[in-house]
Amino acid sequence: MSDLLEPAGQRTDRRLERQRSADDPNAITVRDVTRRFGDTVVLDGVSFDVAPGSFTAVTGPSGSGKTTLLHLLAALDHPDSGTIRVNGIDVVHLHQLTRYRRREIGLVFQLHNLVPRLTAEQNVAMALFDTGLGARQRKARAVDLLEQVGLANRVGAKPPTMSGGERQRVAVARALANGPRVILADEPTGSLDDDSAGSVLDLFEALRADEGVTVLAVSHDPRLNARADRLLRLADGRIAPVGGS
């Protein structure tokens, strides 16, 4: 596991570093975030912190805004108000969005979102462009990552020929490609059988334990929620710890 997070040949990015504030101890800090779609208030003053190296699960009924929240954290969407900091970077006012997505976070989508034409290895390698690695190094790292997620024998397979669990693990490998400190996952186990779900969760567990990677997964999968350090529940636009006040 140790080489999973070796920095992928990237130099530090000054413009991105300038946005990072040193005095935020949290991996993720969300304050009073509001997101509306027309008249529908999906997130209504959401606030929470996520400690570095923790595994947090966000649950909630369908349509409660879990995916919306994740998109905000990934800087794929903008809040109407509030602040979001990831790794100390103010995501709301950030201009280097591409760099942020490439270097700070790893995204695992609700649907695996792989390119069907490309092999597993090529799909993972797609995330390694613009990192300073040559084609061979990209390939080597992609193969490495696939081995780490238990797909050593599926490196040359294309997504249409893979099982749901295999695809989702390819997606996880791709999210890990640039050695992000934070993994954002949307229902990563929702469509998987117990074995596959177990292997993805083991992977998150290992990342957290060995590398101190922060994992935030949106899910109403009890299997996932059971493995998380902390469970947050999103409902009626608000977030609260499950069982807490």
């Binding site: 794929l76 989508f109 390119v115 034409r117 390698a125 390939k139």
Partner: protein, 372 residues
């Protein structure tokens, strides 16, 4: 996988579409190559006449649409010969006629025997016709081969029969596809007594060519001097028309090829919206997305251009064997045409794929991924 490898991979994934798009570009390049070579060659043929006998300039009748229709009186030619600074001036009558079905447009030149040498005519076989004979002809060696006639043979043109006294070559290539008669013979057959088509002037040693040409232009308002290709339009607008046809054809070819590329790029854009969204969300820059879409178009376009060069070359060969063009069209292959095809391919790819590329790059990743 290198970025270029990815581009090839994506193109190969839609092979049939790539082939069809490449074909559109190939047809465009073929048109550009064929038309360009045809234009260049016809221009060379036409302006080659300016170089007859190393003349400094040609004199023709003003305001004719074609050099072949130019008429100058031999009196005027004699007066031109006396203009200050003129070293020597030769008049030649030029008439076009059908020899046989395979040679529908043979250029006949009427020229005095003693004007042959300054005209640049070199006798290869036999001898010249005599000034007074009315049944003698000489053949350019290319024409002689083409109509299978040699010294001593008889040939009939325009209802008259002549004996071949010799074959010749000239310093300009299309001159080798002409036939030559004593001047009065041709004047008689075409009711052009006392007239020639063109005058060829060589200035006296030390005289200023431009000044002499200007003096002639001033002294003979009905005549025009032609010293360069750019003067050519003063006496013949054929080149202007050919150039215009070339430009028009080129634009048409570009439009066809661009529509092909645009169509394909748009199709693949709509099919891959989701993919572009994913790539953006895993950290692809806009620039890289644009490079991907443009790159795919360039690869297809370049392959098409390569095929188009061969098609164009084939088309030129076909044209060359067209009876209507025989003797007039001597392909001049120009290295520039290769460069122009490359420009064409890049230009077509860029213009055709720019809009889809920019759209792909500026998609909102979320909206893109929401599409199925």
């Amino acid at each position: 996988m290198t970025f270029l490898g990815l581009i090839f991979h994506n193109v190969a994934a839609r092979r049939l579409r790539a082939v069809l798009t490449g074909l559109a570009v190939a047809i465009g390049v073929m048109a550009v190559v064929a038309l360009g070579t045809l234009t260049l060659s016809l221009k060379e043929s036409a302006t080659g006449i300016l170089k007859v006998g190393n003349a400094d300039f040609t004199v023709a009748q003003k305001h004719t649409d074609s050099l072949l229709n130019s008429l100058i009186s031999t009196d005027d030619m004699a007066k031109v010969g006396k203009v200050e600074g003129v070293g020597r001036s030769i008049g030649a009558l030029i008439e076009l006629d059908t020899y046989d079905a395979g040679h529908p447009g043979v250029i006949q030149v009427g020229l005095d025997p003693d004007a042959q040498d300054p005209f640049g005519v070199v006798i290869l076989q036999g001898r010249s016709y005599t000034a007074k004979s009315d049944d003698e002809v000489m053949l350019g060696y290319v024409l002689a081969q083409s109509i299978h006639k040699g010294v001593g043979d008889r040939l009939t043109i325009d209802g008259h029969t002549y004996r071949v006294t010799g074959t010749y070559r000239t310093n300009i290539s299309f001159g080798n596809s002409t036939m030559m008669f004593p001047l009065p013979v041709l004047q008689g057959r075409y009711q052009a007594a006392g007239q020639v088509s063109l005058g060829f002037v060589k200035v006296a040693p030390g005289a200023n060519k431009k000044a002499v040409a200007k003096a002639i232009d001033r002294a003979f308002p009905q005549l025009a001097t032609v010293a360069s290709e750019s003067d050519y339009g003063r006496v013949d607008n054929t080149l202007v028309l050919i150039s215009a046809a070339n430009t028009g054809g080129g634009i048409l070819a570009a439009v066809i090829a661009i529509s092909g590329v645009l169509n394909t790029s748009l199709l693949s854009f709509f099919e891959r919206v989701r993919e572009f969204g994913v790539l953006r969300s895993i950290g692809w820059s806009r620039r890289r997305i644009i490079a991907l879409v443009l790159g795919e178009a360039v690869v297809v376009s370049l392959a098409g251009a390569f095929v188009g060069l061969f098609l164009g070359w084939g088309a030129i060969n076909l044209l060359q064997h067209q009876a209507q063009l025989r003797g007039v069209f001597h392909p001049v292959y120009d290295a520039g045409i290769f460069g122009r095809s490359l420009y064409f391919a890049f230009g077509v790819a860029f213009v055709g794929a720019l809009y889809p590329a920019v759209r792909a790059a500026f998609l909102s990743p979320l909206e893109a991924m929401r599409r199925e």
